[in-house]
């Protein structure tokens, strides 16, 4: 004992040096990714936010002048004493697109979750050819959105579309319907295509969660004599909930900024115009670059708020532990 004490080993110091080395190594490995992220995500984001406070236009980006919050809300008092409000926050078209986006997101994510859960439960069962079915179910998700949107656009086409043809022959409709152009059906068409496309993604994430549940507790439930439906509600659902919550937030974020599908399928329909479509339209088509930037910034803010609220209210656990 005495020998060990007299040696006076700098134990704690050696340990902290080791930790410093590891932290340094971690930073070296992280640095390239952080630089790339800053370039492709951080810088454009900051530029967009900056432009939203200027009067930039496509033809005059460099000479943009700082105009403060004018793009968001400007208050002009006329000589007559009338006050005129202008800007994004009082733009009915903007709020229409916000409403469209929220409506689309909620309906599509709810449907995808329910159908995805059903598909995942089926895929989680043992049956012959499960591997092939699992691969096949991914096809809609694997096709690029532009391709699948074009494909559906043709299928939904009012003159030549196969869907009108089938429904006519089945006698379900009496005249051909312009699914993507009609104000009543445009949102429905977009929803159907989106659900078709992204349910596989949801199913796969839920399936991964289901496979984390140990099989023996189902056997315990069998011996307890619990009805399978009750087992789903009382055992499966609570246990798959962490994975489900993460899957839902992934899909929610995707849905809230949806652009490509709607741009291809129902480009100019005010019933389906989302925040992203609105922003792009202003940025490039209407040459209101600064106004579009303001819309983009608002979209970013809305997404952030929804995500934060969801994570807090839903007690989402990203660490995957139980």
């Amino acid at each position: 004992m005495a020998v060990a004490e007299s040696l006076d080993m700098p134990v704690a110091k050696a340990g902290s040096e080791l930790i410093r080395q590891r932290v340094r190594a971690a930073w070296i490995f992280l640095a390239p990714m952080l630089v790339v992220l800053a370039m492709v995500a951080g810088w454009p984001l900051l530029r967009s936010i900056y432009f939203s406070f200027t009067n930039a236009s496509l033809t005059n980006i460099e000479g943009a002048q700082w105009i403060g919050f004018e793009n968001y809300l400007s208050v002009t008092t006329l000589k007559s004493g009338r006050v005129i409000y202008d800007g994004l926050l009082v733009d009915p078209l903007w709020w229409q697109s916000v409403w469209n986006t929220v409506r689309f997101s909620v309906v599509s994510v709810v449907m995808e979750t329910i159908i995805g859960m059903m598909v995942a439960l089926v895929l989680n069962a043992e049956f012959r050819g499960r591997g092939i079915v699992r691969a096949a179910i991914l096809i809609p998700w694997a096709i690029p959105t532009i391709v699948s949107a074009k494909m559906w656009a043709w299928m939904l086409n009012d003159q030549f579309g196969i869907i009108n043809d089938i429904l006519l022959h089945l006698g379900l409709i009496s005249t051909k319907i312009a699914w993507t152009a009609n104000a009543d059906t445009a949102m429905l068409a977009v929803l159907v295509v989106d659900i078709w496309k992204t349910t596989p993604f949801m199913a796969l994430l839920i399936l991964a969660g289901l496979q984390m549940i140990p099989g023996d507790i189902y056997e315990a439930a069998k011996i307890d004599g619990v009805h399978p439906i009750k087992v789903f509600w009382k055992v499966t659902l609570p246990l798959v909930r962490p994975a489900l919550m993460v899957a839902v937030i992934f899909r929610m974020l995707d849905a809230l900024r949806i652009f490509d599908l709607i741009y291809v399928l129902t480009a100019n329909n005010s019933q389906t115009k989302t925040m992203s479509v609105f922003a792009r339209e202003n940025l490039f088509d209407f040459d209101k670059f600064a106004y579009g930037s303001a819309a983009s910034t608002m979209l970013f803010l809305i997404l952030t708020v929804i995500t934060v609220v969801y994570i807090i209210v839903g007690k989402v656990n990203f660490e995957g532990g139980r």
Binding site: P214, D216, I217, E219, A220, A221, K222, I223, D224, G225, V226, H227, K230, K234, V235, P238, L239, R322
Partner: protein
Amino acid sequence: MADLLLRGIKKSYGNVKVLHGIDLDIRAGEFIVFVGPSGCGKSTLLRLIAGLEDITAGTLQIDGQVVNQLAPSKRGIAMVFQSYALYPHMTVYDNMAFGMKLAKGHDKSEIDKRVREAANILQITPYLDRLPKQLSGGQRQRVAIGRAIVRDPKVFLFDEPLSNLDAALRVATRIEINKLHESMPGVTMIYVTHDQVEAMTLADRIVVLNAGRVEQVGPPMELYHNPANLFVARFLGSPSMNTMPCTVVSGGANPVVKPDGCDPIVVQATIPVSAAGAKATFGVRPEDLDISTNGEAIFRGKVDIVEQLGEVTLIYVDVGAPEPIVAKIPNDTVIAKGDTVALTSERRHLQVFDENGIAYPRT
């Protein structure tokens, strides 16, 4: 109170036959242990009794009723799983009450009474509000047992319940399971393990299984002293029985065998006269071998390894056979690697197995 009757139980998965016709009578209140090497079908047999797997052929009766087609929950059984199989999102209390709560026909006070009784027996009352992840392995195992007790089963099934516990806890829990059995005299218990110590200490009767067949059934000491065949002889006991090929020199009264490379010895076994000249296997347990002091010896050889276990010392003696002969000797014996020793044994301890590995009964 439930007798179990297994008649010609077979199980196959596709073309793979796992159990080849098991016949077994289990009396009410008995503690039966299925033991065997991994893959011998012992767990499968337990799962067939539980109803977690379909019986391919044969009949299973519990209490005189054929239950082949009966759901697990209707068989009057409860099961304790190796991995505990607790519901991770439910408290200890809910884990134990879950089955009864959803079964209907039990009012809340009755459920509460039963859960608290079981918790009391297993001393887990302080943990009733905790989640499984907040418990140690031993506590989880008690909860799993508690959940089984709450079901008030006629037959208790244990699937290797101690294999996830550390050595000390395993001994303690083993003793508790023993006590539990004593406190529930009418309840039949069937226990699967690959650990022969658990089998020896817990069982009223042991069922030794090998490759989907029953090798022998009987009380632990009966199996230990009078194994029916080579497999049982080698499987029970640690270190396992020394075995060596031998030739039957003569049968009848005072039969003589000659282990390869050793002198002929007289054994106490019923070997028919006609067996003379036949190949056989000679066996003797390590603890029955002593170091000879009078020159008489069965085996002679050089000590290869000396293992001092504390309570006893094991020596591995090279006698020219492929496998060394192991002897368990008192811990105060002075012996070193390289020493030449002569090993002897009392005649009544020697065993002989015929060409097919079946024991010649000892006299």
